[in-house]
């Protein structure tokens, strides 16, 4: 234990590393831009006007603070720890993704960039990016795997309504990782005027750091809200982890609070023996998309396809800070399967009148598993990272219901 840091909140180091993870593994063409982005981010961090504009937009445009809801019926049903839901689903555009997009488009403006690009899987980050691009009057191109375009038509139409161009990516497996490859290819050819809004705490430094910082509003609010509601810190935090931006946003402000147990939930898909998206449980460290982190891969380092019923968790990697928190043991990561998430999706809807995103349903499922094992005097906060309206077709399909 002697090599553990005094604080878990000081990372990354000046080279963008969290322990052995993170870093800047990009082509030389992008490297000067990454360094430029870091300089501008440092300047923005030191500028009170930047934070003031960020806070203003979060309050008046996004609708923050999001409530911390005591899920009394779910708590009674499970008969254990008190469960609070951090209601990121109530944000404008329906998920936590918008927090980060607001921060990054302010950075883009600060850097004088005139075009916005982003990758998206299910389309939530694409919609959030297209939304802020509309708000700031900047042209926006969203890269989305052709397979995802076909199965997420409502979000594709939303993005188009918001004025974005949606590029259906035909390379590779035609899903999120290929969309990210294509966004990087576009960026490398347009670095002079284009800002890439990465949707999660991954990619080359400083993205994992700045996305985390913009999302930390979740944990900062939750801490103040739970202190008001319970007069003390929670005993446990639970959040779903794909790339891991909602999770790190909730976790980071609590990392140095020793009494708070922290659980991240990975998508175990059909189970860890079958097709899944649990990079920590089923992968090992490697280099992809600009950072070193746990990846699903074969013995030659070829990236393997991820699977989850939740398109937002369907990615073969995970943010590098999560890989570090996993290795040092500060955060425990647990798998939840498609079937478990699907059951929790329905249970929360019926008990609380809240339709969670399938991503969030993974965290609810973990809470269902853990809460009954804890005493009624214990308190947990579960991140309801998004709303489930986008998933009703997927859920209907999985349940064999025809709409």
């Amino acid at each position: 234990m002697t090599d553990l840091p005094n604080s878990f909140r000081t990372g990354p180091d000046e080279r963008g590393h969290f322990g052995q993870f993170g870093g800047r593994y990009v082509a030389e063409t992008l490297m000067p831009l990454i360094l430029d982005l870091e300089r501008h981010y440092r300047a923005a961090q030191a500028d009170p006007a930047f934070k003031a504009e960020f806070d203003y937009l979060l309050k008046h445009y996004v609708g923050r603070p999001s409530p911390l809801w005591f899920a009394e019926r779910l708590t009674d049903h499970l008969g254990g720890a008190k469960i609070y839901l951090k209601r990121e689903d109530l944000n404008h555009t329906g998920a936590h993704k918008i927090n980060n997009c607001i921060g990054q488009i302010l950075l883009a403006k600060r850097m004088g960039k005139t075009k916005i690009i982003a990758e998206t899987g299910a389309g939530q980050h694409g919609v959030a990016t297209a939304t802020v691009a509309a708000l700031f009057g900047l042209p926006c191109t969203i890269f989305m795997g052709a397979v995802d375009v076909a199965r997420q038509q409502p979000n594709v139409f939303r993005m188009k309504l918001l004025g974005a161009e949606v590029v259906a990516v035909e390379s590779g497996a035609k899903t999120l990782k290929d969309a990210m490859n294509e966004a990087l290819r576009h960026w490398v050819a347009n670095v002079h005027d284009t800002f890439y809004i990465i949707g999660t705490v991954a990619g080359p430094h400083p993205y994992p750091e700045l996305v985390r910082d913009f999302q930390s509003v979740i944990g900062d609010e939750a801490k103040a809200q739970i202190l008001e509601a319970e007069g003390r810190l929670p005993d446990m935090l639970i959040a779903p982890v794909g790339g891991g931006s909602n999770a790190i946003g909730l976790f980071h402000p609590f990392l140095d609070d020793e009494s708070v147990e922290i659980v991240g939930v990975e998508a175990a898909g059909e189970g860890l023996d079958g097709k899944h998206a649990a990079s920590l449980a089923g992968g090992r460290p490697g280099i992809l998309h600009g950072n070193k982190t746990y990846l699903l891969q074969d013995e030659d380092g070829q990236i393997t396809e991820a699977h989850s019923i939740s398109a937002g968790l369907d990615y073969p990697g995970i943010g590098p800070e999560h890989s570090w928190l996993h290795e040092i043991g500060r955060v425990r990561y647990e798998p939840v399967t498609d079937a478990e998430a699907l059951a929790s999706f329905q249970k929360l809807t019926k008990l609380e009148g809240i339709i969670p995103a399938l991503e969030s349903a993974h965290a609810i499922a973990a809470a269902e598993r853990i809460a009954p094992t804890l005493g009624k005097d214990k308190v947990m906060i579960v991140n309801c990272s998004g709303r489930g309206d986008k998933d009703i077709f997927t859920v209907a399909d999985a349940l064999g219901v025809e709409l």
Partner: protein, 263 residues
Amino acid sequence: MTRFAATFAKPRPALVTFITAGDGDTAANLDALVAGGADVIELGMPFTDPMADGPAIQAANLRSLAKGTTTADTFAMAAAFRKRHPDTPLVLMGYANPMTIRGADWFAAECAKAGVDGVICVDIPSEEDAEIGPALRAAGVDLIRLATPTTDAARLPDVLNGAGGFLYYVSVAGITGLQQAAQASIEDAVARLKAATDLPVAVGFGVRTPEQAAQIAKVADGVVVGSAFIDIIAEHGDAAAPHVEAFTRTLADAIHGAKEIAA
């Protein structure tokens, strides 16, 4: 004298060619490149996620992987090439993950054993050199660095620190095989690079015709052609070798004679 030094000591610009390992009949295509007059061979290690590559080389990566090409296969192709062609410099080009997954020391040792002279790793910039650079240098394998239109004067010394073999100038800010850079911008860039290093400078990205290659060869020490070969292999499959050789010859003739015409 290393194979790179011997090659670039010749009083003519070098033709540097790229093909993807396991795409088509690689051994026959490698022989065709040498027979056609290629001076340096870059052999691409296939990767599932070739982020810096355009559609042609992306497709070549996927074709190769679909046939089941492994890292061991790539090294076997390299070792067999070295036995058949003792003097032609051979470079492995690819992405960080397949190169580092078993540890950089393992990779560097395999390169040395197979007779590989240099390595180009697209997504390890000088900032992350520790990931692979020390292991390669210790094994006597040159790490070939990339310079780009966005590499400014402040960064250039870092890019050159630890670089070996030759310097690869990526003439367009973009991905492989698409746009072509303006000749004037290439001339300026090469002059700037040559003022900063004694390494030979080879220019690539978007070079597809003998005419383009000849223009660049007037000012550079080498010209890299990749996607145009990949297109030939995509079209002719396992029977591509004669076409590869014929195209190599037109490029080699244009490049090798470029400076004489200029003079």
